[in-house]
Symmetry: C2
Subunit: 391 residues, 2 copies
């Protein structure tokens, strides 16, 4: 054929203008992004990152994570990419991994670990809505002797905020790295990476931070780095190889940065700005605000006759609330009605909680009593219109 | 410690406003992003992607790649992520891979393949600036019998546009998948995925498309899908597992999409818009414009007494020009001077071409005679000021 002429014509759909509606993003994420953060991401692209922007992001993550780890940066990807980055660096073929499964995230971590050749993956499983005691964790650590223990701090599929106290010490005792997923919780509930002995911690940009999805803060303790930098084999992923990423982010102390990949520059601008917003409010204020708004929300839900999925009050995630799917309704009717009538996104369950719950996320700038009132009014309206007997 | 109080204070650097300069991005990428595309990325975040936006992107990529493959979508990551996606899906442990190395990208592909347990990775190596004949490729295919052959269409580290005619047929003959990296070339030089028998093709968003980095178009032929979907083992990466991605992008024909990861929604808006811009101009017009501008540039460089690194005229990449690093200069002085004095980014070599070349990228909206004139004037000025004898 003539190589200067085309055989696939230009698609008609691209002739229409891009239309994006504004929605109340009150699901488990992504959350609404403020105009300030969106506009930061619309700044011009530059090539090699300003070292200042990298440094700003690093410092902002250290603050958000409450850590002094120098191995702190943002992965060019989403929370899942950061999860994979943590696991594929920390685990070598043939090693043993333990994941705590009380929702979808532990399942995902086990799936990822399982893909590493000959890795031995063990899980400890609890029903959705429940958390593990330290005694149960110690028993499992002692039985399986893993090199890595995975736990989800904010289980967004079930609404559980997992207690963290004492687990870091247990992991240290059993010579195991402590990996925590804080995608749905960080910034909205107290977490102290260093004090609580967390070895690897990651999150996403699109929850409490209110930045667009696409970047994922991560940090590695000295102990994690020691294990990773004495690996016998290369990590299975080049893109996520910590030695490359450490140099790219200037975390390895070397004077010059070698080209690794082209980071999502404009997404880094947004991330930087979202960290600035968090620092302006102050972590403690943000924790307190999320807690107060959640309590206000939970009390109101119960007084509407709805049931909260997580029984133990202290284990309720302040960012994502799980409501027992109300009897006499198809949960899909409720979420569809809210979207159609109120332009408001909430969601049903995910993984082990599918069919069991409705999930409402009020994260970062979305966490306010005004938004709670909006959700409550919309929910009341939905419950009036969606009852199965009415259909 | 008291878990409600912090130990790492908010960083001072985040108190300053975010400052991003405007620059002429005339290096090998990322390229300048037009206000239209930047502003598309500043639209509000929505949760589940509009199916229309996914469909727009898919159609736009099919057009750009000149393919009718239904397995066509954008990876949530950069060109490197797409490279890893292609390799980790197409190759199983123990299989043989062949990569053509005439610059950095073949090296990177070999590194990635090498991380797959027990994979046997062979390379055919040529000097930077040179390409392979079909006879050489057939010899190597016949010797190594790989399941996958990797070739770079636009070798941005050396400035070579690799001929593609006949190679797809050779790969078919030797029952091998043909994987092509078109990160630096697609949209700027003729390429026909289907007609040329390419089985897996990927690119990045930040070159000719002029979108921010962070999304990477990719497409798989029917033959590639057959091999991938009959794997004995899971791909090492969950995030890049084609069966998950195919469902997420609605390419697998299943009626419902399962949650896989949270895509970079706003980056997808920008990608969609950049594909619309390409469709508006028309691929053939874009190819012709890049070729004409490159020829104008190359002639002018030679008449300035500079030498082009790629001897063979037809093998010169129209998007990224490699100039032999001029005698009597330190190339770093030239790139620094251009940045400082002209606010203009060009770069030195990369990988095997370090120290040998200067690289100028004029891609997408940057490919114009006016920009060539700007680069030429700036280069003349730099050559006046940067000579070693003057320092």
């Amino acid at each position: 054929g003539d190589m200067s002429s085309i055989s696939v014509p230009p698609p008609k759909c691209l002739q229409k203008p891009l239309v994006v509606p504004h929605r109340h993003m009150f699901g488990p994420g992504p959350s609404n992004v403020s105009p300030r953060i969106l506009q930061a991401g619309a700044r011009p692209v530059i090539g090699h990152m300003h070292p200042e922007i990298f440094d700003d992001i690093k410092s902002g993550i250290q603050y958000m994570f409450q850590t002094r780890n120098s191995m702190t940066f943002a992965v060019s990807g989403t929370g899942h990419t950061a999860m994979e980055c943590a696991i594929c660096n920390a685990v070598e073929p043939g090693e043993s991994v333990l994941t705590a499964v009380n929702g979808i995230w532990g399942e995902r971590a086990a799936d990822m670990a399982d893909r590493i050749g000959e890795a031995e993956v063990n899980t400890m499983v609890a029903a959705p809505g429940v958390f593990f005691t330290n005694a149960e964790i110690e028993q499992a650590l002692s039985k399986h002797r893993p090199v890595l223990f995975f736990l989800t701090h904010g289980e967004s599929s079930t609404g559980v905020l997992h207690p963290l106290e004492g687990i870091g010490q247990l992991c240290l005792k059993y010579n195991c790295l402590f990996l925590v997923d804080s995608v749905a919780s960080i910034g909205g509930a107290p977490l102290h990476m260093d004090r609580q002995g967390i070895d690897i911690l990651y999150t996403g940009s699109q929850k409490v931070l209110n930045a667009p999805p696409g970047t994922a803060p991560i940090s590695f303790s000295e102990r994690a780095c020691q294990k990773i930098f004495s690996r016998r084999t290369k990590p299975v992923s080049f893109c996520l190889d910590l030695s490359w990423l450490a140099n790219y982010w200037g975390c390895d102390g070397k004077p010059s940065r070698v080209y690794h990949h082209t980071g999502p520059v404009t997404a880094f601008y947004s991330l930087r700005e979202s960290l600035a917003v968090l620092a302006e409010e102050g972590l403690e204020n943000s924790w307190e605000r999320h807690q107060k708004v959640a309590e206000y929300f939970h009390t109101a839900l119960e007084s509407m006759g709805l049931k909260l999925f997580v029984k133990e009050k202290n284990a309720r995630l302040p960012t994502v609330t799980t409501i027992v799917a109300p009897h006499g309704y198809d949960w899909k009717d409720i979420t569809s009605y809210l979207m159609k009538t109120h332009n408001l996104e909430i969601s049903g369950g995910l993984g082990p909680s599918v069919g069991l719950v409705l999930r409402v996320g009020l994260m970062g700038c979305n966490s306010s009593k005004a938004n709670v009132d909006m959700v409550l009014a919309a929910l009341k309206d939905a419950l009036k219109h969606c009852h199965k007997n009415k259909m």
